[in-house]
């Protein structure tokens, strides 16, 4: 088995790891439990950060905008101060550190790859201040604990999470015949219902109609955040009967009797166990780990595992890994920038993320450059994880990641930025050779390409070496 399996399903091997005798077993054994988050620094709760979100929007919208309505400069200044006080510029940096610390040091890196996958399947795209305050904790607290449960349970948690409801506007969806809908002349917002069908569960392959979307939106009415004057839209999610559409609903030919808040669980059960949903999500998993165009033959065992285990994600993950192992030698897969960065960080033991002591924040001034470094790199290489442009998340297809600028950014990172992230004890040529040997069959060929710089240990020399190595076809892809 090629060493590239460790990069196909994980992040490669760090300098103190060695290849396992049984790589398949090594991978499969990582999926039964949820590894603890290893970050030694602060890991705030979703609820705490939502409170900060509330302070930020209230402070800006209700206080500063009114106070400085005649003075854009004073307004900007006051807004910047509020940013510092509420951590608006800080929490996303901290989340990136938590995430990259985990993928670098986790003893269950295969589990972590699935964590990234599900966070992106149930993507929160860039909207309002979700990236600043909410998407990180959502991935930690909603996605992660559900990864040892069933797919259906994960969909339930995601669909009623504050983050997703805010992201897809369900709080603005009123049943037109509900008490509040009638009083205020409001109607549904279909956004969340559409994405629940299209992106999260059955996909357009199910052939649902606009009427199905509307009917599902009716079922979802009432699942909203609790609104109050001080916290605005950042209150907890609850079911507001006065917004809920009355009457029976029909989605994909199935009738759901008028049953208030219980309707949602029923329809999610049907969607999450629908054969087209199972095929759609299985295909997506295979696409992520095996190849851009997985064949039916590749996908079939995953579907079987799904059916046999009633959608148990542990079993599904194991089936995906088994297939990834089986096809490892004959398929290729391109790595998007963030996974590439995580792999370089693990394989070459780079100095990212910053130590937790240095990430510590006092809420008195802007986060410093060191604290911003990882997030800045992610943005510059084109893959700031919580800022996907659309609710369908980041693409799994090579074609979406190969543009001239995006490739140039990788050359830039490897040759200019990376040398500054090499730990002082790791600057020797031998260190690079050892890392290559640990991770690549053709390490000798790779070494020959940087042979000219073997005596160099300056930043420039390291840049020449890493600039070449990190952009080789066998590193960009497996």
């Amino acid at each position: 088995m090629s060493l590239n399996f460790y990069r196909r399903v994980a992040f490669g091997l760090s300098p103190n790891e060695t290849p396992d005798k049984d790589p398949l077993n090594w991978a499969i054994n990582q999926l039964d439990t949820i590894p603890d988050l290893l970050w030694p620094g602060t890991i705030p709760t979703e609820k705490d950060l939502r409170k900060k979100y509330g302070e930020w929007v209230y402070g800006d919208r209700e206080v500063l905008r009114k106070k400085f309505k005649n003075d854009k400069h004073a307004y900007r200044k006051a807004k910047d101060e509020l940013r510092i006080k509420t951590g608006e510029r800080y929490f996303e940096l901290n989340e990136h550190a938590i995430r990259h610390f985990q993928t670098k040091y986790s003893k269950q890196p295969v589990f972590e790859r699935f964590w990234l996958f599900w966070g992106n399947h149930f993507a929160i795209s860039e909207k309002d201040f979700l990236a600043e305050f909410s998407t990180g904790p959502y991935q930690r607290e909603i996605i992660r604990p559900n990864m040892v449960k069933t797919f259906e349970e994960m969909v339930q948690s995601v669909t009623t999470s504050w983050c997703m409801i805010h992201h897809l506007d369900n709080s603005e969806s009123f049943g037109p015949n509900s008490k509040k809908g009638m009083e205020w002349g409001e109607t549904i917002n279909e956004n969340h219902a559409r994405e629940l069908l299209e992106l999260h569960t059955v996909s357009p392959n199910a052939g649902y109609t606009q009427e199905d979307v509307i009917q599902l939106a009716y079922i979802m009415t009432g699942w909203v955040h609790k609104w109050d004057r001080k916290n605005l839209e950042t209150g907890d999610i609850w079911f507001d009967q006065e917004m809920h559409q009355k009457g029976d609903k029909i989605v994909l030919g199935v009738k759901y009797k008028n049953d208030a808040k219980r309707e949602l669980a029923k329809v999610i059960h049907d969607l999450a166990t629908h054969p087209i949903c199972i095929k759609f999500v299985s295909t997506k998993l295979c696409r992520h780990f095996i190849t851009d165009e997985p064949t039916d033959e590749m996908i079939k065992p995953v579907i079987e595992a799904w059916n046999k285990s009633n959608g148990n994600l542990i079993e599904i993950h194991k089936a995906v890994i088994t297939q990834a192992y089986k096809y490892n030698e004959i398929t290729h897969k391109f790595h998007p920038p963030e996974i590439w960065l995580m792999q370089l960080s693990r394989m070459f033991d780079l100095n990212i993320p910053l130590s937790f002591e240095k990430m510590n924040y006092t809420f008195k001034s802007k986060p410093n450059n060191r604290q911003r470094q990882l997030s800045w790199i992610l943005r510059e290489i084109g893959h700031s994880p919580y800022r996907a442009k659309q609710p369908n998340g980041w693409s799994d297809l090579e074609v979406d990641w190969v543009s001239p600028e995006l490739l140039l950014r990788r050359f830039w990172f490897a040759s200019v930025e990376l040398p500054m992230l090499v730990k002082s004890g790791n600057r020797s040529h031998d260190f690079i050779l050892a890392c290559l040997k640990n991770n690549f069959e053709d390490h000798e060929n790779m070494a020959s390409l940087i042979e000219n710089f073997r005596f160099g240990t300056s930043d420039y020399d390291l840049g020449q070496k890493y600039g070449v190595i990190c952009n080789l076809p066998g590193v960009l892809k497996i």
């Binding site: 919208r61 500063l64 905008r65 009114k66 400085f68 309505k69 005649n70 003075d71 854009k72 307004y75 795209s125 909207k127 506007d169 956004n191 559409r194 994405e195 299209e198 290729h332 510059e380 084109g382 442009k389 659309q390 609710p391 369908n392 090579e398 074609v399 979406d400 190969v402 543009s403 001239p404 600028e405 995006l406 490739l407 140039l408 950014r409 050359f411 830039w412 040759s415 200019v416 390409l449 020449q464 600039g467 070449v468 952009n471 080789l472 076809p473 960009l476 892809k477």
Partner: protein, 383 residues
């Protein structure tokens, strides 16, 4: 306010449904024509950019936002003083505006609106390609799109081999590519290899390192590329910050700052395109306009109808092209927003037909699913 619906219909597009499309083969059509789109994200306020003059109701509702020194366009409309270049080009029949226009989207979400302004569709997230990408593909113009941004904008997706330019913060030694180029073997490495080819063929000027926030340099480079007869035919710029919920202000407010950015880009393009400016169309694109009434923070909320700012040698004449819906309460969309009486996609479809030498009817079907979009080429552009 003299501009009435009647005026519009006389000079307007009603006859166009009857007239067929007769492409003229002339020297001009042999020249490469450039289409430049500037996305104004956040919701550009058409009434700040191209204010209607002497409307009492607007004055009343926007006490703190009324502009003092508008540039004069005609008896009905003025121009924001920060949009100087448009005023200068207006004198030469090289700038025009379409007013009370928008994509057919009334939902007021940035998120959905920006998706729709790029896909040109009716339902957010349904389409995964942009109208410009589809227009290029339908016109068989491949590898001629240039995005001035890091990710390929949705607007340009749907056609392969686009270039993008958004230099990294430091110089990248492209000779590193030479060292590994031959390592890309086999079919599965073809895509990367051909993209490396695109990079290697780049002119030196595109290999600069710069602050990507420096729009001047980006616009300068775009102009250079577009000027080249074998260079790109389409360029897409991205600006944001138009979402001015507070301190929107008048001449110097937050919205003015953003308009100034547009002005800067167009100025640089105009100065540096030289003769190629004559064969160029520059159009803005936004997701929606803003409310008529100022809010408690002297800003405005998300609205509906906005305006398209247009410049370039392919503009037919200086004009504010509109079917003005009026600003009386009952004339407003949902009683609060300037209405949209022209589907802005008709303008973009017509612009593509001009720049891509393509039958608008054909494009309408290929790009916009045959939606009813009148051909405005004869009204707006030089055919």
């Amino acid at each position: 306010m003299n501009c009435t619906r009647r005026n519009f219909l006389i000079g307007g597009s009603t006859t166009l449904f009857l007239s067929g499309y007769f492409p003229k083969i002339s020297f001009a059509s042999m020249q490469k024509k450039n289409l430049i789109i500037i996305s104004l994200r956040g919701g550009m306020d058409g009434l700040t950019a191209v204010p209607v003059i002497g409307d009492k109701r607007l004055k009343k509702l926007r006490k703190k936002l009324i502009l003092e020194d508008v540039l004069n366009l005609n008896s009905d409309f003025g121009l924001h003083p920060k949009l100087e270049i448009f005023h200068k080009l207006w004198q030469k029949n090289q700038a025009a505006f379409v007013h009370a226009t928008n994509i057919p989207y009334t939902g007021r979400s940035h998120f959905d609106g920006q998706n729709l302004m790029e896909t040109g569709a009716h339902i957010p997230y349904k389409e995964k390609t942009g109208w410009l990408g589809r227009g290029l593909l339908a016109s068989d113009i491949i590898g001629k799109g240039l995005a001035i941004s890091l990710p390929m904008p949705l607007l340009l997706r749907g056609v392969p081999q686009n270039n993008n330019f958004f230099p990294s913060p430091d110089f990248v030694e492209t000779k590193l590519i030479d060292q590994i180029y031959n390592e890309f073997k086999g079919e599965h490495n073809e895509l990367i290899k051909s993209t490396l080819d695109t990079i290697r063929q780049r002119p030196l000027s595109m290999q600069i390192a710069t602050d990507s926030d420096d729009r001047k340099k980006l616009a300068l480079e775009a102009a250079k590329q577009l000027k080249d007869q074998s260079g790109p035919r389409v360029a897409v710029f991205d600006l944001d910050g138009f979402d001015t919920h507070a301190a929107q202000g008048g001449v110097d407010g937050a919205h003015a700052d953003e308009l100034e950015e547009v002005n800067k880009i167009v100025t640089i393009l105009h100065e540096n395109l030289g003769q190629a400016f004559d064969n160029t169309l520059i159009l803005t694109l936004t997701e929606f306009g803003r409310t008529i009434k100022q809010n408690g923070g002297y800003g405005t909320e998300h609205g509906y109808g906005s305006a398209i700012l247009m410049a370039g040698g392919l503009i037919k004449k200086s004009q504010v092209y509109t079917d003005w819906p009026g600003l009386k309460k009952k004339e407003l969309f949902e009683g609060r927003d300037l209405n949209s009486t022209i589907d802005s996609r008709a303008v973009y479809n017509s612009a593509m037909s001009i720049c891509f030498n393509q039958d608008p009817e054909f494009l309408r079907k290929e790009v916009f699913w045959g939606d009813e979009l009148p051909d405005l080429s004869q009204e707006l552009f030089k055919i």
